[in-house]
């Protein structure tokens, strides 16, 4: 493992294999909380935070499962870990960093069922990442999510005021926008740094 590997992982997670635009994970919060840039950034930050933590914990749990010869139960176990982790983080924040807790608001519990978080845990295992690589992949994957939801929210704020056919009001225009941004992100697939 070298810095180059980590850089490659980061670039892959943020751009070429962006969780939303290339792997289509975590679409629910992506559409749900992208109406305003502020809330979108809040959600993105919360996801980044939880994805980083979840990668670390899932790595440990996966080690335990493999040691116990239970590798096939990883999906179930990861769901358990993430749910418990988010609950724990929520309680911790409520007690010690109430400002951050109120800023994240409802998004934190929402992340419990975010498939991007489960996805990052499973992909770490699939790609045979070691501990540091896992955490880096988790955090940069979260940053990719943050970038995606920020861009999307910025465009959506504009479409609110744009003139488009009545039938496209609301979600339809948002979905078209999301599709176009995803197409744009496909341009990154040619990117090679290693």
């Amino acid at each position: 493992m070298s810095v180059t590997t980590l850089l490659a992982i980061s670039l892959g997670a943020i751009l070429t294999n962006n969780f939303i635009f290339a792997q289509f994970l975590g679409i629910c919060p992506f559409l749900g909380v992208s109406k305003k840039i502020d809330t979108a950034i809040g959600m993105g930050a919360a996801v980044t935070f939880v994805m980083g933590l979840a990668s670390a914990f899932a790595y440990g749990v996966n080690k335990i499962l493999i040691a116990l010869d239970l590798g096939y139960m990883q999906t179930v176990a990861f769901i358990l870990v993430i749910a418990a982790l988010v609950q724990f983080v929520e309680m911790f924040l409520k007690k010690f960093i109430p400002t951050l807790y109120t800023a994240l608001g409802v998004y934190l519990p929402l992340i419990t069922t975010n498939c991007a978080v489960l996805g990052v845990a499973l992909l770490n295992v699939q790609n045979n990442y070691n501990f540091i690589e896992s955490v880096v992949y988790g955090i940069t994957g979260g940053l990719g999510f943050l970038l995606a939801i920020f861009l999307f929210a910025a465009v959506r704020e504009q479409t609110e005021f744009s003139e488009h056919p009545k039938a496209f009001d609301g979600f339809p225009i948002a979905l078209i926008t999301g599709g176009l941004i995803a197409l744009a992100f496909m341009g990154f697939s040619g990117l090679k740094v290693w």
Binding site: L70, M73, A77, L80, A84, F88, M91, F92, K95, F161
Partner: protein, 301 residues
């Protein structure tokens, strides 16, 4: 696949779950934050629309502010006086006796106002005020009629009226204040629900300038002020303002207004009747004065 294997998996995962459960249970105790039991009760009394009219982020924020004493128990206008009384009871305070207030638009210009140019941009008042120095209307004060207030209202209580200016539906209005925030010209004010006489203009220019830009503008002539028997309407900064504490709702000012800038707008017949009555009263007065002068003169002799 052996049966034991299943039991093994269930057992391990169960053990994991129990460990997490225990950690969470302990964490819940360690990180416990005491929540005032009045908080959920107060929140129940609020409207629950998260309209933000109170100035706090949503109903939960408002409930917290009320609990902390930062906001009055009447902070939630949409909840109405009954719920304010309930909140007061929860807080152990006296119920306030506030009158129900509604929004009112201080402009009836619309098509009566002179347009400078046809604005075909984003249908939003703030956007319209940014174009060409905001001179869509000749009147610097009037309602632009692009419906920023309509979009802001969550209760379907404000609409663009038939003549192009915004009109409040008094029955549906909850006085949440969203439209007041949305209006870039600050034309929307709180008025008591029970009162029916309102000034429909906020043009603060001198009479001649105000008359030039709109057919129904207040020119600050002071007819209403002179007509009012209760000292309830005054021309302040070239525009008539009603003192709702004194207004009895006689509508005399509305009939006296030469520009029909006061609501309820009188019909032409009503205006004629009013003018005739005024004339008769003036004649009577003149006659009485004359008689008095004559009496004085005879006395002097």
């Amino acid at each position: 696949m052996d049966f034991i294997n299943i039991l093994y998996a269930v057992g391990i995962l169960g053990a994991l779950a129990v460990v997490f459960g225990l950690v969470l249970a302990i964490a819940a105790k360690v990180f416990e934050v005491k929540v005032d039991e009045r908080l959920p009760k107060i929140q129940e009394c609020l409207a629950g629309a998260n309209c933000g009219g109170c100035g706090y982020p949503g109903c939960a924020g408002c409930a917290e502010a009320i609990l902390a004493g930062k906001a009055p128990v009447t902070a939630c206008a949409p909840a109405g006086p009954e719920n304010a009384a309930k909140i007061a009871a929860i807080m152990g305070m006296e119920a306030p006796s506030g009158e129900k207030m509604v929004a009112h638009v201080l402009c009836n210009g619309g098509t009566n106002a002179k347009k400078n140019f046809e604005y075909r941009g984003v249908t939003d008042c703030l956007a319209a005020t940014k174009v060409c120095g905001g001179n869509v209307l000749d009147c610097k004060y009037g309602c632009l009629g692009f419906g920023s207030c309509v979009a802001a209202c969550q209760f379907d209580a404000i609409h663009i009226g038939p003549n192009g200016a915004a009109v409040v539906d008094k029955e549906a209005c909850t006085n949440c204040g969203a439209c007041r925030e949305a209006c870039p010209r600050h034309l929307i004010v709180e008025v008591p629900y029970s009162k029916k006489v309102h000034v429909n203009c906020s043009n603060k220019d001198k009479g001649a300038a105000a008359a030039k830009v709109c057919a129904v503008s207040c020119i600050g002539c002071g007819m209403c002020e002179r007509t009012c028997k209760f000292d309830a309407i005054h021309v302040i900064n070239n525009v008539a303002v009603i003192d709702y504490d004194k207004c009895k709702g006689c509508t005399m000012c509305a009939k006296a207004c030469p520009k029909n800038a006061i609501e309820p707008i009188p019909t032409p017949e009503e205006k004629e009747k009013f003018k005739a009555a005024q004339k008769a009263a003036a004649e009577r007065k003149a006659a009485a004065a004359k008689a008095a002068a004559e009496a004085e003169a005879t006395k002097a002799e």
